[in-house]
């Protein structure tokens, strides 16, 4: 809506609220600042009430949601910080720059807590690359953007997940999570608590890029979006690397009282948030802000989202010492303002206030109570015939982009820099990183838009379950998670219902696991304005786990001939939302059920077996079912196996259901001590059974009414080369 000469996304209600609160008409600059801070992207005004139900406390949680990163205490004086960001809208327009700057943002979130970023993960969702050249282009450039940026700043990209589906054709999802480590006593918070302290802006100068970025991200993409390229920031990983070094040196120097990343909403948002958290005000001297172009208006300066900038709150009198540190790295440092006791954000030009807004008013958008409605149309369970050639079905599934090896992607990421990466991409169900206190962290990100589309409550809880299984499978205990909810237009009551149910599913299951949520993100408006089509509900979950000892790390590959293969958990007739259905272009009517108590118990017992040294390899059984999980274990270990799946726990079912059902609460593990493993499972009432033995060059599966035999080399050929053949058919 146009107010004077300023275009805002504020609704008439919000504008009325603003006028009432202020008792006057805000001027143009003030409207622009309110607009940026009250955008959905920055204010969570639609989602706040729903997110409040998440469990956010736990014995290890030092800082939960609401700050730039969640902080988890790992003992011995160390903390881990974690956060996730998405850059969906920018990546849809400029995949290279959008993805790269997405990393920039989340790395700053880790940095501004005074912690060192040590790992990046990315969850990506693209259109169907087997059919769409556009989606291939998007994917290649997103991956290149992540590689160029992450590699340059020296933070390893260690894990991720990728899903391909037509619903992401026009709205790709690019989520980046970052893990940081630091000393507990050096933690910084994004707050300005003490009047008299200096507010310094370091890093890049403020330009016209990224103007209206967060308001751009708070509406749907349409035909005009191409013209909004200036809303995408320009990546500069080299400057970022210098800022990382300079900020860490500054935070260790003891000169800082607070630190804040400048991202969505630019200075307007950053300033109001640190002042609000600290219960203070800030006086800003507009002329002191270094600008890239001389004729920038105050509005442009205040809401620009130019990258590679940080706000530092420096203790009074330490400005010169701070400047020396910045000079070493060639990082510009300007004192742009001062913390005040006025409780107001005041922008001064030539000593005269050109904006003057109460901090709490600016920093806290009025909450929107949105309506939600459960959709009436339910999908029907398709009647698919069991294919006669199950071997072909398995090979096709292994080659389908969502299942196939992501080696084409992770080879482009430096996953070794920092010399902490113990379990590397492709090795295990989660990445495992060495920590300075001798312990290890496991981290993984997962999503499943098809489950969530069929039932957002069960689907979202299942995403959390799968991600935890991945953490448990490497031998780690889940300790905290991040949620990231990505949906269409929240004005659509059915979409808002799906969002609410997904958060409820995550919250309820998080509580059942006693697992706290330490942060997250909400991204709405992932919807194509022209077709009106929204993406499938796509919550993405990142789970952090801890391992006491490196001996507990368990990988997925079959290791030695003669080891016993045990299938844990019941396989049910649950093909709804499965990758097998996707391959047949079906979806089904319901995702697999999730028994919270059984899932939680199963994870605990698997972890116990690993910690007791009983397990030689372990793999979560999720996407692609038993067939894909067993094939992956064979491919990774370069070893076959003879397996009788008639012994696997479960009901009567057809062979394709047995192979490809994605029932929850399942693992496959190998052991040299099957009696003890089975006893442990049965004593905790978790179904488990011996299914076969490792050995030979083929994977031999006996099913209920047929048999299947595949050479491991053939499985690998389908699985390993698929993405390369789709994306770069000319290579090799």
């Amino acid at each position: 809506m146009l107010v004077g000469e300023v275009e805002t996304t504020l609704t008439p209600d919000e504008m009325g609220y603003a006028r009432r609160q202020l008792g006057r008409e805000p001027n143009g600059l003030e409207w622009a600042m309110i607009d940026a801070e009250w955008s959905e992207h920055c204010s969570y005004k639609s989602s706040k009430l729903v997110l409040a139900q998440l469990p956010t406390t736990g014995k290890r949680v030092l800082v939960g949601p609401g700050y730039d990163s969640g902080v988890v205490d790992i003992g011995d004086g160390y903390v881990l910080t974690m956060h996730i960001e998405s850059h969906n809208h920018p990546s849809a327009i400029d995949p290279y720059g959008g993805a790269a700057t997405g990393i920039g943002g989340v790395v700053r979130d880790i940095l501004c807590m005074g912690t060192t970023p040590i790992a990046l993960l990315d969850a990506l969702k693209f259109g169907d690359i087997t059919r769409s050249e556009h989606s291939k282009w998007i994917m290649k450039n997103v991956v290149r953007g992540i590689a160029d940026y992450g590699n340059c700043i020296g933070v390893p990209t260690v894990a991720g997940e990728i899903e391909f589906d037509e619903c992401f054709e026009r709205n790709c999802l690019v989520d980046v999570a970052c893990l940081g480590v630091g000393r507990k006593e050096e933690l910084l918070l994004a707050q300005a608590t003490r009047p008299g302290d200096s507010v310094c802006l370091i890093g890049g100068s403020t330009g016209r890029d990224g103007i209206h970025g967060s308001t751009f991200a708070s509406r749907t993409l349409g035909a005009d979006s191409e013209r909004e390229r200036s809303a995408v920031q320009i990546p500069d990983p080299f400057t970022k690397k210098l800022i990382i070094e300079a900020t860490l040196e500054a935070s260790r120097s003891g000169f800082l009282r607070g630190c804040k990343d400048l991202g969505g909403g630019g200075l307007a948002t950053g300033l109001s948030e640190i002042a609000d958290k600290g219960g203070t005000g800030i006086e800003v001297y507009l002329e002191e802000i270094p600008v890239r172009e001389p004729d920038m208006s105050p509005i442009e300066v205040m809401i620009s989202e130019s990258q590679e900038r940080m706000l530092l709150v420096a203790k009074e009198g330490s400005e010169d010492a701070l400047r020396v540190i910045m000079q070493k790295y060639g990082v510009a440092c300007a004192r742009i303002g001062e913390v005040t006791a006025t409780g107001k954000i005041s922008i001064l030009r030539s000593g005269e206030a050109i904006a003057d807004l109460p901090t709490p008013f600016l920093a806290n958008a009025p909450v929107i109570h949105r309506k939600s409605r459960m959709p009436q149309v339910r999908k029907l369970e398709p009647k698919a015939k069991t294919p006669s050639d199950l071997e072909k079905a398995l090979l096709d599934l292994l080659a389908s982009p969502t299942i196939a090896s992501k080696e084409w992607v992770f080879r482009q990421y430096d996953h070794e820099v920092g010399i902490r990466t113990v379990a590397k991409p492709g090795d295990a169900d989660a990445a495992v990183m060495k920590l300075p206190n001798g312990k290890l962290a496991a981290i993984k990100v997962d999503g499943n838009s098809r489950f969530c589309d069929l039932d957002p409550y069960v689907g979202a809880a299942s995403v959390l379950a799968e991600c935890c299984r991945n953490i448990v499978a490497v031998g780690a205990e889940p300790v905290a998670f991040l949620d990231h909810c990505q949906f269409g237009d929240p004005n659509d009551e059915e979409i808002f219902w799906a969002f609410s149910m997904a958060v409820k599913g995550i919250a309820d299951f998080g509580r059942a696991l006693s697992l706290p949520c330490v942060g997250g993100k909400v991204s709405f408006y992932n919807q194509d304005e022209e077709t009106g089509k929204a993406i499938r509900s796509s919550p993405v979950i990142t789970v952090l786990g801890l391992l006491e000892k490196a001996e507990h790390i368990t990988k997925i590959g079959f290791r030695k001939d003669g080891e016993t293969i045990i299938v844990v958990g019941e396989t049910k007739r649950e093909l709804g939302g499965s990758e097998y259905h996707r391959m047949l272009r079906l979806i089904g009517n319901a995702p697999p059920a999730l028994d919270f108590q059984l899932e939680s118990r199963t994870q605990r017992v698997v972890l116990e077996c690993i910690r007791r040294g009983l397990v030689t390899a372990c793999h979560d059984c999720s996407k692609g079912g038993l067939g894909v999980a067993l094939a992956e274990m064979a491919i990774d270990g370069c070893k076959g196996a003879s397996i009788d799946l008639r012994n696997a726990p479960g009901d009567e079912m057809s062979d394709d259901e047995l192979l490809f059902s994605e029932s929850n609460s399942r693992f496959i593990l190998t052991t040299n001590n099957p009696a003890q493993v089975l006893e442990t499972f049965s004593s905790h009432r978790v179904p488990a059974a011996i299914a076969g033995t490792v050995g030979s060059a083929s994977l031999r599966l006996t099913l209920r009414s047929s048999k299947l035999e595949c050479k491991v080399d053939a499985l690998r050929a389908a699985y390993a080369n698929s993405l390369q053949e789709i994306l770069e058919p000319w290579q090799k």
């Binding site: 590699n151 340059c152 700043i153 820099v417 010399i419």
Partner: protein, 222 residues
Amino acid sequence: MRVAVIQFPGSNCDRDTVHVLRNVLKLDAQLVWHNDFKDASYDAVILPGGFSFGDHLRAGIIAAYSPATEIIRKMADDEKPVLGICNGFQILIEAGLLPGALLRNSSLKFVCKWMDLQLKNDRSAFTCAFKNTSKVRMPIAHNEGRFFAEDELLDRLMADGRVVMTYAGENPTGTSRGIAAMSNEEGNVVGMMPHPERASDSTLGGTDGLKVFESMVEWAKC
């Protein structure tokens, strides 16, 4: 033994290298900011991996004009061990301390992978502790690691034993004759694309890299 590890703006394997030298090999390793590197009395110098100056213009070229390079050149002339790892190799070539050029990988993509390497020369300052020309394993991670030189020069480099390591089996970057590491005539200046500091801990995948640094200690003793 005092070893300087030079930190350029954009270096990102500097601390990893110092960690291995200091905490695993118990050497006196100093991280030295490039502008502060004025002292040629160190016993050895290492140019670590990363993206010095953001790889702007061309990988390694801006760092090659840093004042630090003159000290490095002096140490090279004094036959002290000088190692360039990855971006450090690119800098040594741009500074003219090693011949040839490092071009964009033939795949036009960054590649991060553990590789089997064939040791070709066990006499250089960074391979003399291996004592034989065995196979070793170390990871690579780079965009521009395709060594290029005219055939005539390549023949001479091979004949003179200046090719220190080649890829055994798969050639991941299309590099000429599989070249992964190269030395000067005297053998004290070595550039290598593989990262020895990432292969110095068995939990991270192998320890063959330690021998690279141990060679430096051994060379300095002679």
